[in-house]
Amino acid sequence: MITERKPKNIFTQGPIAPSFIADSIQKHETKTNIGGHSIFLGQVRADLINGQKVAAIEYTAYEEMALEKMHVIREDVFAKYPLVCMHVHHSLGKIAAGEICLFVFTSSAHRKAAIDACTEVVERLKAELPIWGKEIFEDESYQWKENK
């Protein structure tokens, strides 16, 4: 029997707290078939653009579509790598420079699958999920973030 994974919500209002990350790691203590965890965290940079410093990024998303896309990515990645589990969290709303806005967490028996899957999820998420960021400068002016 094939296990169906239901679309999960990945969005969270505001920054992702380090204590939330710790709780998430802690929960895997009972999964003793895991040998390696790979984690990627996106942090808002205080970039200097034309002499203006980024104070925060305000994230918005086309949520329904993003969750459908993320579900496809999740299914693809589970089909490709022998993962034990995978968790993805992306912030919405205003995230100050220095705060965490993305948390991707993959776990597997051996390190390679966890590491490769984590990288692939980060790349696909940035390329395929309809999410936008408004870089808000210290004087409240803004520009729209562009991914490279």
Binding site: Y62, A66, L125, I131, W132, G133, E146
Partner: protein, 77 residues
């Protein structure tokens, strides 16, 4: 048959944050033509089109009651 248009990111600077209704558009090309007349700043802006959350290309027929989303380049993460 009315079509609901929603936009995100930099396109909200042009079309606002509320859905825009377009009354008569047989396909996505007609829809964009009409939007370009109402929102001249939209012309030549980079975006892709999703109809009911599926990305489409070319002239995609609209049946009415569709939600069309204009999606500028993604910037998640």
């Amino acid at each position: 048959m009315p079509v609901q248009v929603i936009v995100f990111g930099q396109l909200t600077d042009i079309m606002g944050n509320n859905p825009v209704m377009v009354d008569n558009a047989a396909d996505t090309s007609e829809l964009i033509e009409q939007l370009n007349i109402r929102f001249p700043a939209l012309v030549n802006k980079p975006y892709i089109i999703a109809v009911d959350r599926q990305i489409v290309t070319g002239h995609t027929a609209l049946s009415g009651n569709n939600t069309v989303a204009l999606l500028p380049p993604f910037a998640g993460g």
